[in-house]
Subunit: 344 residues, 4 copies
């Protein structure tokens, strides 16, 4: 049993980590922290009565925690994770950071995008971007993972293999994405209140979302040239799930591209390229660590349309974080992670 | 055209009044107030682009407003309405108060229930309880209406005629009620956030909700003896609607009771007693000022079951308020009020 | 009072017409037909207890109906409307057809798209496409209206003025649209069952939806050259509303284009061009006949993004149908139509 | 590994069994049947890409299946399960039947309630009612389980200990229950279509639901006298979950009763009696095999109010079925079953 901890365990990604770890045969959850709930159990605060119901929130005291765990998940805001990551690493504790603090290679891009100063820029070169299927070899050797954003996960899994292989144009990529409301985290705001999300639908941060530079940095890296994308996020009146509809220019016929992508992911448990003509649904990935991808073409108009779905709290956050830690500890990547969906 | 105003127009009942008044042929909305939005239009604040989109929020200055309107709706918290009502009445402006400040006859009961002091207790005797179909004759002569709570409206419309006529026992009445989330008003709290209401369902304030004493006072008045009820409210993951399932002991056969209630409401536009065997749905009253009532009996167990549905924002609040003002001004009670539901 | 009828009144668009007509001061609903419910009232079949609750469904007997009405709405499937329209016109009854039978000018395009033969192709030249704000002058003189599809209404209202004026490229237009489930009509299929739509989200008919040729015909007409669009519809887990996110290439700066479109619609009650920086929401048009439009630009990537929202059952179907009949009878176009939204 | 099968695996309870079995360390799913999908895989039919994605539906051929499994779950309609159970038992295959065919002891009550003839009445005496926490000792020795209905599970877990111990009256029990729509199974009917369930709420089968006699038989058994209950089911616009609000007369003070029930279940993993004053929510049991129970009292009115919540597809069906099979095979009852909820 490998003892681990969750720093900032009272948000949606922290609670989802707790839920998923209940089924994990190797990682043993020993520490959960939350400044708001110090001294209270999971059952007292959130009514969570599972295996970890008696686990008690403590303060995020690195010295103390580092003695009791071999790895931590950081579920704290961007900016706050930097120092925590540095300190845990200093104590030889492996870190998977779910914030944006270690997602970028380009220091300046990070600082402009998040309007934060990075106090440990050297760690950006040491950290690995935790898109598990793509960076698996690097993740094996890493001590620090920058776990990808939810939108980037849904978008990059289909696009990276295609852009790397030159099968799509780098120009004119449009990502029209729709996310369940849990993607916004736990927020007491009218904008996210039940009556104002339910039966509604809206776009937000058009041409200005922070995940755009993250996606562009990774796509540019694989394209070996600067790639710009148009990214429009929308808020779905559901709890979980992201569906990204991606418009690209195919450089080869649909059949060829489909066959390539299918081959690329054929040995990957969590990425499924659907048969041509099939439609992915959020219901088919809800509660799983899967990403499902479908490819379409408007032949008359010579346009490729790619649809990608994930559960934003699992493959888009906590599930992929566990997948990365599995890889870091040499376990099979799917250890303890769900594959069968809550169909209803 | 009768000029009117809404004091506290930025909550859900205020916005619903605005929407409903757009179709009113006689009342002309001239004043809306909101301390938070002074100087801004409805369109700027809430994106409401209808007939009143250019109407500008102002501060609740009674002197100034009283010169420009003949009646006001008060959509302010209990406690705040008392003084506003007194001042407007002093300026000969009719008042329909949607708070609890004028719903009670019993001063002490009000003060204990709402933990507030009533500064104008004499007004409690002058005000009329605005359950339109029951107190119509008094409403005609009133200058001040205490508009009923949403749960009491759904509950009292079926029960008052039956208890007054001695057709049900006063003992052992149980009201198991379920309300859409708009009933809680506009609140920026995690408890009412989308992700924590959606796909959830829960009871709240069991044996302690403030609408219980309001219902008991009215039932006791008509029963001519003290009536106690068990009242359990629940929060539905929908925007609007209340369904109350009411358990009573019938003193006569179902047919007889059904026939009596049907007769009682036969000339009332907004109360529909369904044929025996029919089930009311929230969808059939959504967007209307209707209350639909169905009667059932578990013969083997000698128990009456009454189901009553309303749209909590209309018959349970803003619609009934307009119905009352219609009656106060001698207009047909259904003037400008919707009767056909948003079926989907 | 102008007597009118609804042919095929038991589907969602028929029921919505009934609801909206309750507030109409001039049109008097005299006839509703439904083969399934002949002899039953609206209240018996759908629990609709409003002004029309006692109206009885009859069979669609044109001879008989034509004597009692001056106009009819056809809410029947494509293919079925052709003959009904011909017969009613023959009896001097005006027709607003909500099916696709009279939306096209190009006979061949209609026949290929709907896989139907048109028995009255001459009527295609006589009929007017009922996009009210665009074809108002023709509608005034028309006896037969082909009421637009819901997706085309949301898409064409922003695009037609811009493409006509040459402000956007005709190439590379992408329409990523999301519709509430009522858009599919009343269907007893697992695909549309509650548990399989709720908490789900999916694209459908990618590169193959029947509304694509309808939009292309109209855009090409105003562009004076063939326009092809990429259209991807998605199914939202809500009852009503369409949001279209439209990607275009602007030929002028955003300010200029925004100013032009604002000017174009400045006297139109039902089309609102939002101030730059504002986001439209479905909640702001729910229950209204409004279309709200916002314009954005990704400057760095030189891409225009247009967001358009409507209530699919009102501006996208029954409301626009009434708006057209208002125009045909010389009434103000907004007669009896709602402008203030159900905010919750 | 113990090989098992699911007969009738294409409904919601079958699919949920498949999902839950993915985490089971001992039961190996070898056979799934569905007459509609013979020869197709789970992935082809339902897009389920987990561990069992390549499992192929076959016809329910008992002879053939009995050779390959040691136990089966029957997820077929009442009436159909009788013969299947008999045949599998005849081949020494253990059976957990999720239909109503083996829930009753009283043959006549079953036949009247389900309007079916029981062809194997002798099996009613051999079968054990699978309310795991109550009948654990009998389940250990059983070869055939009648898995309880969803409403009875939520209702009986709190009531049986109390009625057996004489802590509540047997008279006047009222169960006001609310269920998510998955409880109705997979049905292509307008009544269950998205637009007609979403934003709606309704009661159904008042004083006539088939689960009433099931609950009464079990309560009467433990009360040692006939117990009648009033049961009112309602349809919630959510996918999963049952909340039962139960009104009873306490014979002892609340503290005493709470303490007794807490003691009764203190060693049971899946039944949690909440501290006094706490409210159970569906969100806290969603995705788990838990039942949470809270006790309240309206002191002034001397009424006990019990609230019980479960996930209808898990503790109310497939989860409890696995729990029972665990017990039958001598495994810890919680083997492979989830305890931490999908909080969002």
């Amino acid at each position: 049993m490998i003892p681990i901890g969750i720093i900032g365990a009272s948000g949606y990604t922290g609670l989802e980590l707790i839920r998923l770890l209940e089924n994990h045969p190797t990682f043993g959850l020993k520490v959960i922290t939350s400044r708001d709930h110090v001294g209270k159990t999971l059952e007292e605060t959130f009514g969570i009565s599972g295996s970890f119901g008696k686990l008690t929130f403590e303060a995020p005291d690195v010295e103390n925690i580092a003695k009791r765990v071999e790895a931590v998940f950081l579920c704290v805001p961007a900016g706050t994770a930097q120092e925590l990551a540095f300190s845990f690493l200093d104590h030889k504790v492996k870190v998977v950071d779910l914030s944006a603090d270690f997602r970028f290679r380009n220091l300046d891009l990070y600082q402009r995008t998040y309007k934060l100063t990075h106090k440990f820029p050297q760690l950006l070169y040491q950290s690995v971007y935790g898109l598990s299927e793509i960076f698996e070899e690097d993740i094996k050797k890493a001590a620090l993972i920058g776990n990808p954003g939810c939108y980037p996960t849904a978008t990059l899994l289909p696009l990276i293999p295609l852009i790397k292989e030159g099968l799509i144009e780098g120009e004119g990529i449009i990502v029209d994405a729709k996310s369940g409301t849990s993607g916004a985290g736990r927020k007491a705001e009218n904008y996210y209140s039940f009556c104002e999300v339910n039966e509604d639908f809206k776009a937000y941060k058009v041409a200005g979302h922070r995940h755009t530079p993250e996606m562009e940095e990774k796509l540019s890296y694989f394209a070996k040239e600067p790639v710009k994308i148009i990214f429009t996020p929308h808020l779905l009146p559901i709890n979980r799930g992201i569906l990204a509809t991606i418009y690209v220019k195919f450089r080869r016929p649909l059949d060829y591209i489909h066959s390539y992508l299918e081959g690329f992911y054929k040995d990957k448990t969590f990425v499924r390229v659907l048969p041509l003509g099939s439609y992915p649904r959020l219901a088919e990935v809800r509660g799983t660590n899967l990403c499902k991808i479908a490819l379409f073409e408007d032949k008359e108009r010579r346009q490729g349309i790619i649809i990608s779905v994930i559960d934003n709290l699992i493959k888009g956050a906590s599930g992929q974080a566990i997948q990365n830690l599995n890889i870091m500890f040499g376990l099979p990547e799917d250890t303890g992670l769900p594959k069968s969906p809550l169909f209803v």
